[in-house]
């Protein structure tokens, strides 16, 4: 396998792996998310949250994937990038690391959004407006 072929395989493989990770995370959290957001009160808002959740995770992974660049001081053009196999491996691992990081951050951020939603729902039902 030449370095250029490795670049193609690793780049698109990392993208596919990241998308798979986001979808798997969505699948694992789908049922708990539905349990947390379903209900009469604020149901429209809950539906928005449930629909936005997969897109939110996939976009986070996409941001992590795109945050890594192959260019640096030693690798200023395409030939120098494809000529350095270690650099290609390093960048692939860096992309995987960034995608995992962004995905974890997105789940935690969604947790904060869910707190705000639950607070609004509890206030509504506690005041008897549900």
């Amino acid at each position: 396998m030449t370095n250029e072929v490795y670049l193609y395989v690793s780049y698109f493989g990392a993208a596919a792996g990241g998308a798979g990770l986001a979808l798997a995370t969505t699948a694992v959290l789908a049922k708990p998310n539905r349990l947390a957001t379903v209900g009469k009160a604020r149901d429209t808002l809950g539906r928005i949250l449930r629909r936005a959740f997969p897109a939110w995770l996939i976009l986070a992974v996409a941001m992590g994937f795109a945050s890594v660049t192959y260019f640096d001081c030693q690798h200023t053009n395409y030939t120098s990038i494809t000529g350095d196999y270690d650099h290609l491996v390093r960048k692939t691992l860096e992309q995987a690391s960034a995608m995992s990081h962004y995905l974890a951050a997105a789940i935690v951020a969604y947790g904060f959004v869910l707190v705000a939603f639950l607070w609004a729902r509890a206030r509504t039902s506690h005041n008897g407006a549900a």
Partner: protein, 120 residues
């Protein structure tokens, strides 16, 4: 060969770190999230999300370390490999502790907001 072995040791230690942290926090978290009927429907989400977040943090920290290439690995003795693994644990510890801190803050806010309600 030593590169792969060192990287596997680092990955195993990272996994142990994540499992220990999750094991320590899981039970009290479940108890916290079942104190009233406002919190109990969300317990499953926050518990599963915590496990996933910790696993992803460990993965991100581990993948951030690349094994030394063949030229760098040549001539390294045992203690140099130990130092390499110890150095590799730094980003893993940072990621796990950072996310743990933020998650603790999240649970504190969640409990502060919803824990004050009492079931009738």
């Amino acid at each position: 060969m030593e590169c792969v072995l060192a990287w596997l040791v680092l990955a195993a230690l990272s996994a142990v770190l994540v499992v220990v942290v999750v094991g320590l926090v899981m039970r009290p978290m479940r108890m916290l999230l079942t104190v009233n009927s406002y919190l109990s429907p969300v317990a499953l989400f926050y518990v599963r999300a915590f496990v996933i977040v910790m696993a992803l943090a460990g993965l991100a920290g581990t993948l951030g370390n690349t094994a030394p290439c063949a030229e760098q690995a040549a001539g390294k003795n045992f203690m140099q490999w130990v130092w390499w693994v110890a150095e590799g644990l730094r980003p893993v510890s940072w990621a796990v502790s950072g996310f743990l801190l933020v998650y603790a803050l999240l649970l504190t806010i969640l409990y502060g907001v919803l824990g004050r309600y009492h079931d009738k």
